[in-house]
């Protein structure tokens, strides 16, 4: 990546972020319908990122060791374990399943 490419990426990202923070986000304050949408959009996007990071690899739908790690971590979340434990369980189970060659 060159300095020029970096500048384009950085400015482009900043414009996207500013559009959200200063233009679209501000509209929620005056329009009540936007308030409920504002609460649901991040949930939908976070769930999308969660699902893509768990069930896909590059441009394919893949079920591998990550699913086992995330499933184990979801039990920790359900049992109200602290975040540090959630992180350790997710990484540990995924690495363990890979080490045993049970899944990719």
């Amino acid at each position: 990546m060159s300095f020029v490419a970096l500048a384009i990426l950085s400015v482009g990202n900043a414009i996207t972020r500013a559009l959200g923070m200063f233009v679209l986000g501000r509209r929620a304050a005056v329009n009540p319908r936007w308030t409920k949408l504002m609460a649901l959009v991040p949930i939908a996007v976070v769930a999308a990122v969660f699902a893509v990071q768990t069930f896909t690899s590059r441009d394919q739908i893949v079920l591998d060791a990550r699913v086992a790690g995330v499933a184990a971590a979801s039990v920790a979340v359900w049992r109200r374990a602290p975040m540090v434990l959630v992180v350790i369980v997710a990484a540990g189970v995924t690495a363990g399943v890979r080490a045993l060659h049970l899944g990719g």
Partner: protein
């Protein structure tokens, strides 16, 4: 909405765990950027100015597969475009000065946003946002410096299960929100839409289309999902306050 799981359990050890996970990603991303011929100065600048590990990875993936710089930039910008939606959703969560807005939008990440939007009150939202984004941001920059200075000391991040850590953290931060019908609908729809689109749509686009799930979910009335109550055998929780704009 109830406080997220993160509110109760976010101690120093949790923040260190988040920073460590983020640091490992920083090492891996910057080492890849060096590998594709980027100068150390540009890699370190990108860490702070682009502030998007997934964007940098998308750029590197296009370059490594023989694509042009322009194609790499388009892919990186698309993958990073979801941060606009992230910034939008925290814009009114707590009162902010212009400078706080600029800082918050620059270092936004899904775990911090998820915790902030599911927190019970604006003060908690603000505290959680800066704790999580701060810890992960510091880890990210430190990790990137290590990746630039000594290359990939982590090895394959997959072999230590790091690729499962971020989805798990996301689950931990939004779990509390999923107990209401409307948020659960948004999450399930958003997740399914994104995964189904991955084989067909350019990288990053599935996240934007998934955001449309919120429009459908906003027609679902808020109310307890009831699953948790069935599983734990506890009495039903009182319904969350209904919103004024519901039909």
């Amino acid at each position: 909405m109830q406080d997220s799981e993160a509110v109760r359990g976010l101690g120093p050890a949790d923040l260190v765990a988040l920073a460590a996970a983020s640091m490992a990603v920083g090492v891996a991303v910057s080492a890849i950027m060096i590998d594709i011929g980027t100068s150390p100065a540009v890699v370190m600048l990108a860490t702070v100015t682009a502030f998007s590990g997934s964007g940098e990875l998308a750029f590197a993936a296009v370059i490594l597969s023989g694509g042009s710089v322009a194609a790499g930039l388009v892919s990186a910008l698309l993958v990073s475009s979801r941060f606009g939606l992230m910034a939008m959703s925290i814009a009114n969560r707590w009162p902010m000065t212009v400078w706080e807005r600029i800082a918050a939008m620059q270092i936004s990440g899904e775990p911090a946003v998820a915790a902030a939007v599911t927190a019970g009150d604006p003060r908690t939202a603000r505290r959680l946002y800066w704790q999580i984004a701060g810890a992960m941001g510091i880890g990210w920059v430190l990790g990137s410096a290590v990746g630039v200075a000594v290359g990939n000391v982590i090895g394959n991040t997959r072999s230590i299960g790091l690729d499962a850590v971020f989805p798990a953290v996301l689950l931990g931060t939004v779990a509390a929100a999923l107990r209401s019908r409307d948020t659960a609908a948004a999450a399930v729809l958003g997740g399914v839409i994104a995964v189904v689109l991955v084989p067909f749509a350019p990288a990053g686009v599935p996240f934007l289309v998934a955001a449309l799930a919120a429009i459908i979910a906003s027609r679902v009335p808020a109310g307890p999902l009831g699953l948790r109550d069935l599983v734990t055998g506890r009495g039903r929780r009182p319904a969350p306050p209904t919103r004024d704009d519901l039909p």
